[in-house]
């Protein structure tokens, strides 16, 4: 499951962007932030917690995207594909 940012809640504070180990987070045209589901591994392979959720000051803003469910193996495979071993 990739994460997604609820744009209605996002303040555009940018705290999440540098914390993502996959550089999946980028700015939108109107100063908010978004997650590329192809790059997000839910931090699997790097950290125990989703970094964007851990740093985001607004509750329920960086959340799992129910439209994009993946299991741990898939996520790990994604990580390996993106970064190698």
């Amino acid at each position: 499951m990739a994460y997604t940012i609820v744009l209605d809640n996002c303040t555009g504070c940018s705290a999440c962007e540098p914390e993502c180990p996959n550089a999946a987070i980028s700015g939108t045209d109107d100063g908010l932030f978004q997650i590329d589901p192809d790059l997000c591994t839910e931090c699997v392979g790097f950290f125990d917690e989703a970094q964007c959720t851990a740093v985001c000051p607004i509750d329920d803003t960086c959340i799992p995207d129910r439209a994009c469910v993946e299991d741990r193996e898939t996520l790990m495979a994604k990580k390996v594909k993106l970064h190698g071993g």
Partner: protein, 520 residues
């Protein structure tokens, strides 16, 4: 007025701005100057408007909001909006890139020669955005090497940043330390983000506290000046702040600024929504007084916004919006060092004069056995220059002095809404003023209308216009004599202690346009 006083007043009137009233002890910030301060420290702070009470009448500072991200959550902060506690704009306010920020500094410094300090204090935490913060410093120091740089931080990321701070020649750092005990801290900070993890409760507070104190030690070891800010939260850390005062002093902080919690439900902060109140003016003063013996306290802080421009208490940021700055070509701006130096020379002369005046003032008012009379609080409406020179209805804030026979000591500013502006209905705003000044026996003004005068008097506050356009401090000392005489003859009934004086948000963040004319 006798001849001696006439002469005396002649000396002090005129364009010389007078420092807004400190005793010879180091009672407010560094105002007392070289006598009681390490010369190296004095040298660093003397032109810093936030640190030197004397300087804050002459020099201006500017904040650039290049750092939107934060790594902790405070219960008095709602990061969507402007925060009056940490004096930072909300992340939704104007945001600056380092490049734009440097441009803005240049444009402002060329226009306002008093501008000597640039700080980064938000919108989030300056050190949670190290690349943006240090890039900004780098660009500024290239174009304007005479400008001092400073930053504010919650301290979590501080210990590892000290070397970089020193590299960029940042000589003033403000660390907000609200507690040194995790049990207190867990009621202030719901969580922190540290080492790739979100920490909560007591663990979070413990890490934060350790990091803050370690950062403070490392800064002072590098001879970087550190001011500590604390937000006073009644029932949470009010009693504890004395311990904070001791710990930060021990680690070499040179100034401790205790600020009142500003908490209204409409701010949407945890404290605002749960009804946590801020301290009354009396409670704040009492705490500041009890910490005073231990360390320099700073009473003139008005919690300016992180994007503020101008003298303390004056915000000219509306003149320098992103749009306007973007339109400026860097090559159009003549950065005139000579003009800036000339301004500084002039100010130094004035300040020398002032120091002499202060010496002369020390003895005034000691006759007539007044020295035994208890101190009174008096509010003053002023536009600056150390004079009673503002119309009651134009005052957006008042300076409050504690006056005895021997001295008139500045103890802080009280914000009020502009009485003349109406808006809420004039009666209403007048009530707010009488509340804000309820511990004062009088308010000195340049002029006051009949109606407000009557209302003030009903609230036990004399509206005094007899000292219009005279210097504040000698006027206060003279008034003290008058008042004490009045009490003795039964003409004036002394005020009973109320203890309920309401503190209004210190930041001048009123809706819409920002006033240009308020100078402390």
């Amino acid at each position: 007025m006798d001849a001696k006083d006439q002469n005396f007043l002649k000396v002090i009137q005129g364009p010389e701005a007078e420092a807004s009233g400190c005793s010879e002890k180091s009672t407010c910030g560094s105002s007392a100057g070289p006598a009681d301060m390490d010369p190296e420290v004095w040298n660093k702070v003397k032109n810093h408007p936030c640190y030197s009470e004397e300087a804050h009448h002459f020099y201006a500072r500017m904040h650039v909001a290049v750092a939107p991200a934060c790594n902790i959550q405070c219960n008095y902060c709602n990061r969507k909006y402007d925060c009056s506690n940490e004096s930072r704009p909300g992340v939704v306010s104007e945001r600056l890139s380092p490049e734009l920020a440097a441009k803005k500094v240049l444009a402002v410094a060329s226009e306002i020669h008093q501008m000597t300090v640039v700080g980064i204090a938000g919108a989030g935490d300056s050190l949670a955005n190290p690349d943006k913060t240090f890039k900004t410093f780098e660009l500024i120091s290239k174009v304007a090497p005479d400008i001092k740089l400073c930053l504010s931080t919650n301290g979590l990321a501080l210990p590892e940043m000290v070397d970089r701070i020193a590299d960029y020649n940042v000589d003033h750092v403000t660390v907000t330390i609200n507690m040194v005990d995790p049990e207190v801290g867990e009621r202030i900070y719901p969580w922190i983000y540290y080492n790739k993890k979100r920490w909560k409760g007591r663990d979070a507070a413990k890490i934060l506290s350790e990091r803050q104190l370690l950062g403070l030690e490392r800064l002072t070891a590098r001879k970087i000046l550190v001011k500590v800010n604390s937000v006073m939260i009644p029932g949470v850390n009010d009693l504890h702040l004395k311990a904070v005062n001791r710990e930060v002093k021990k680690r070499g902080a040179f100034l401790h600024n205790i600020m009142p919690l500003i908490s209204e439900p409409e701010h949407g902060t945890y404290y605002g929504l749960t009804g946590q109140r801020g301290p009354t003016a009396e409670e704040l003063k009492h705490l500041q007084d009890s910490c005073e013996g231990e360390m320099n306290m700073m009473r003139h802080c008005r919690q300016c916004r992180a994007d503020a421009v101008g003298l303390l208490g004056e915000d000219r940021s509306a003149e320098f919006t992103n749009e306007k700055i973007e339109a400026i070509e860097i090559t159009d701006v003549a950065y005139d060092m000579t003009a800036r130096e000339a301004y500084r020379d002039k100010v130094e002369e004035t300040r020398e004069k002032e120091r002499k005046i202060k010496e002369m003032l020390a003895g005034l008012g000691m006759e007539n056995g007044l020295s035994q009379a208890p101190p009174i609080l008096v509010a003053v409406a002023t536009q600056g220059e150390g004079m009673v020179n503002q119309h009651f209805g134009h005052a957006r804030e008042f300076q409050v002095y504690e006056v005895t026979a021997a001295e008139a000591k500045f103890i802080g500013h009280r914000r009020v809404d502009l009485y003349c502006e109406g808006g809420y209905g004039e009666d209403d705003s007048l009530t707010r003023i009488t509340q804000a000044l309820s511990d004062c026996v009088a308010v000195m003004v340049a002029k006051v209308g009949g109606c407000p005068k009557k209302t003030l008097e009903e609230a036990g506050i004399a509206a005094v216009d007899a000292y219009a356009f005279q210097s504040i401090k000698p006027s206060l000392l003279k008034y003290f004599g008058e008042y004490t005489e009045g009490v003795r003859s039964g003409r004036i009934t002394p005020k009973a202690a109320g203890g309920q004086t309401k503190i209004r948000s210190g930041a001048l963040t009123g809706t819409g346009q920002i006033p240009l004319s308020v100078i402390g």
